[in-house]
Amino acid sequence: MKAEKKYTALVTGGTRGIGREVCLDLARNFTHTLFINYVQNDVEAELTKSMVEESGCKVFLLKRNMAFPDEIDKMFDEIYSVTKTLDMFVHCPAINSFKPLIKVKPNQWDITMNVNARSFLHCVQKCLPVMKTGQIVAVSSLGSRTYVPNYGSMGPTKSALESIVRYLAAELAGSGIRVNGVTAGFVQTDSLTKFPDSEKMIEESLKRTPAKRIGNVKDISNTVLFY
């Protein structure tokens, strides 16, 4: 069922991969105004903006670094200079390097945990004053609860993210705000190709997948935006 496009949404890490697809689906089906956060790639961000605008959705690109709380505060200042309501927040940013957990250095732990997990909590805290009812979704990944080789700098951060989702879901239950996490398996994105031995891992995954295909960004976006 197609809903009326009556919502305002924020997507963090929204200009590539799963985040971009979520933005496109939001714009096609739900939102008249979309705030898209990114930090690294201006070209991809502008491309995403133009793609999303084809749906007639008003788009604001917010180049703010999720690693830093004051950047998040500034991002919300920018959002609230435009709107006084937020109905949806989808959190997609993730950074990592492919290595075993035993090799993760303290600064690498900090930056991945801050970007992938802490920023989600901070953004939710900033959303709550204006979000009377709404949906909050965090995009997680397979390595949160399953060992994945060379996923040591990402897996624990996604576990933390999912734990934050559970606590927020319980704390906000009954408030009209729904909090969920979507844990994706192997998904065909640029990030997947950066995995060491990605072809072998995909092959192994396919052996255990009845549908004989790995996920794509549309699969994940559909799940994020279940309505």
Partner: protein, 102 residues
């Protein structure tokens, strides 16, 4: 953010950032050292440094700008040889000058 640095101040600031990212004492960091080959920085460490430089100095540095600027026209191997603490200081100094002109 408008910050004016002398070369010495900028050098000290960047050594502090590199030290913070790599957990190496500042005394062990000198301009001629190669960031990857000598200081063992990994891609995530370089991302960490770039984010901190952006945050502390009010710059906006593109995803591939180190390699595209410092390593312009070089092979990956040549870039790793030229990507020294000194080259990062020079890069940042140039970016601060450009920013001041905007």
């Amino acid at each position: 953010m408008d910050i004016q640095f002398s070369k010495e101040e900028l050098t000290q600031r960047l050594i502090s950032i590199i030290s913070g990212a790599l957990r190496i004492s500042q005394e062990k960091i000198s301009p001629e050292l190669r960031i990857v080959s000598d200081l063992d920085a990994e891609s995530l460490d370089i991302l960490d440094m770039r984010f901190t430089i952006e945050q502390e100095l009010g710059l906006n540095i593109g995803e591939h700008e180190f390699i595209e600027t410092i390593g312009k026209g070089m092979t990956a191997e040549e870039f790793l040889d030229k990507f020294t603490v000194s080259s990062l200081i020079d890069f940042t100094e140039e970016r601060l000058k450009t920013k001041a002109l905007v």
